[in-house]
């Protein structure tokens, strides 16, 4: 599935802005297993792109190519117009990477770790500023081995963003974080995006994708099976109408555009035309003097769409 959005962005000279990340028919194979089976997408400066999928869907395998940590088995990947593996030295100064899991020397302090990492980067921000942004100032002199899981994750994020990168790759950035820390991370990501960075992230938290991502792709078994904005993806699933039929009510007539998935008395209808179906339903109830108990009408959520795909159903 192609996931390319036509953009009209221009730079101050009027030239078209090239995507910061261009992935075309990417494939990645481990022996006989093809973990990524031909995915394509683009991410533009100032945009957040989220890859969703269950474990083993191929998200991390795809990101490792963007990060320059693994070569492609097929297709092409360009970060700021360059191959992140072959042109590693050119790409790395502009790339911030948060790996899904990574280690740090356990007997260095937080400050020493940030100082070490900063000394290897182009244009690293001051360490005090970086630590303050993730709330680790008070833990600066604590050794890494003594940090909690959430604090280590925030330190990881600090390192990923330390060099003011133009492309940021975040593999499950908020795993293990408490809600407050998660919002801190979201704020940092938004700040980078406001400064023009392109962000590619994976997450298992769907609300995180809804909160941060301009566009989302859902992967299953190495392929992108759904893509678009959160609203577009949610719209691939039918809306749901639920109510309890009062005792003695006449049988519910067939409503065009609605599918009855649970019969009276606790009725559940699925429809892709929520407003007209609901209008007809209410008109019928009014005509018969019925009160539909506990009436609920809900558009599908991103979670429903995700679960439908993750369960293996064909996306619409």
């Amino acid at each position: 599935m192609q996931l390319t959005r036509p953009r009209t962005d221009v730079d101050p000279r009027g030239d078209a802005v090239r995507p910061a990340v261009e992935v075309t028919d990417l494939r990645r194979r481990y022996g006989d297993v093809e973990a990524v089976r031909g995915i394509s997408f683009e991410v533009h400066p100032g945009e957040v792109f989220a890859l969703l999928g269950v474990n083993g869907a191929g998200k991390t395998s795809a990101l490792e190519v963007l990060e320059g940590l693994a070569p492609v088995s097929g297709g092409t990947v360009r970060v700021l117009g360059a191959d992140p593996v072959a042109d590693r030295a050119a790409v790395r100064p502009h790339l911030g990477v948060l790996l899904q899991s990574s280690g740090l020397p356990a007997d260095l302090t937080v400050r020493e770790t940030v100082r070490l990492w900063g000394a290897t980067l182009t244009g690293a921000r001051p360490e005090d500023e970086a630590l303050a942004q993730v709330g680790l100032t008070g833990r600066a002199d604590v050794r890494v081995r003594s940090l909690s899981g959430g604090e280590r994750r925030r330190l990881d994020l600090t390192l990923a963003l330390l060099g003011s990168p133009r492309v940021v790759v975040l593999d499950e950035p908020t795993t293990g974080l408490d809600p407050e820390s998660r919002r801190t991370v979201w704020g940092l990501v938004r700040q980078r995006v406001a400064e023009g960075a392109a962000v590619v992230l994976t997450t298992h938290h769907l609300e995180e994708a809804e909160e941060l991502a301009d566009r989302i792709a859902v992967m299953r078994a190495g392929r992108i099976v759904l893509s678009g904005t959160a609203a577009e993806i949610a719209a691939t699933q039918p809306a749901t109408i639920r109510f309890t039929m009062p005792a003695g009510a006449p049988a519910l007539p067939a409503v065009p555009g609605a599918e009855v998935v649970a019969a009276a008395p606790r009725v559940e209808l699925h429809t892709r035309a929520l407003q007209p179906v609901l209008t007809r339903l209410l008109a019928w109830a009014d005509a018969h003097g019925l009160v539909l108990g506990g009436l609920q009408a809900r558009a599908a959520s991103l979670e429903q769409a995700f679960l439908a795909v993750a369960d293996g159903a064909d996306p619409s």
């Binding site: 730079d11 030239d15 078209a16 802005v17 090239r18 995507p19 910061a20 481990y30 533009h44 400066p45 990060e67 940590l69 700021l80 117009g81 360059a82 590693r88 030295a89 050119a90 790409v91 790395r92 100064p93 502009h94 990477v97 790996l99 899991s101 990574s102 280690g103 740090l104 020397p105 356990a106 007997d107 260095l108 020493e112 070490l116 990492w117 000394a119 290897t120 980067l121 182009t122 244009g123 390192l159 060099g163 003011s164 133009r166």
Partner: protein
Amino acid sequence: MTTLTTPAAAAAAPTRLRRTLALAGAETRLLLRNRTAVVNSVLLPLFLVAFVPVAGLGGHGPVGPRIAVTAFAVTLVFLTYYNLVTTYVARREELVLQRMRSGELTPGEVLLGTATPTLLVTVSQVVLVLAGTAVIGEWSAPADVVLPVVALVGGMVLMTLLAAASTSFTRTAESAQITTLPLVVLASVASGVVVPLSAFPDQVAQVMRLTPIEPIVELARLGLVGQTWDGRAVDWAGAWAAAPQPLLVLAAWIAVAAVVAPRVFRWAPRR
């Protein structure tokens, strides 16, 4: 166009040297925080020196140069090689190598920076042995100083590369005790340190001269003791006349290891 030449790239990039030194500095700090390792690093060569009068090895001319030759081989194999295999594997399994590789450090810089404390300790231990034997009056002027330096530097390069290659069949830091045995045994049997090569039939000795540790020992012995692999005494000119073969063998091993190590080295644990 969104390219790599926009103003963000104008910030000063750290040089290769600065990046490597930054990592080496952090690694050295980690070493210094491990008091047991620091004490062992200092005590081991001093024990080797103290062994000379205790065992009554002196008396037939200064034994310092011969002790130093032994120190070259022992330090390079048991410290440099073994330590680096365990360090690289431990860092790989702890996902530290993968993290280091995700930034601007190049793979070579990561490996060199990580190895630096071990290489510094290697040099320190050799210097301590040389100084110690001089202090106890068991030193004599070397036939040549360049050959031992080449042996030490070349040996450190070779041990680093062989350690990197050995991590490909070493799953855990603990299993390095087993996987490093082949080189340890080879060094013990075929380097001429434990048993002189002249004690073997000539054809066997010639094969042993092709093993990785022997040329290091041979070059060190030529320079420090003024003696060829088969026990012949040589002066400066004689030492250099006998040096081409061990130099070539050492260079060949380094070249082979430099080709193999990057191909087989893994940065992350097996999935």
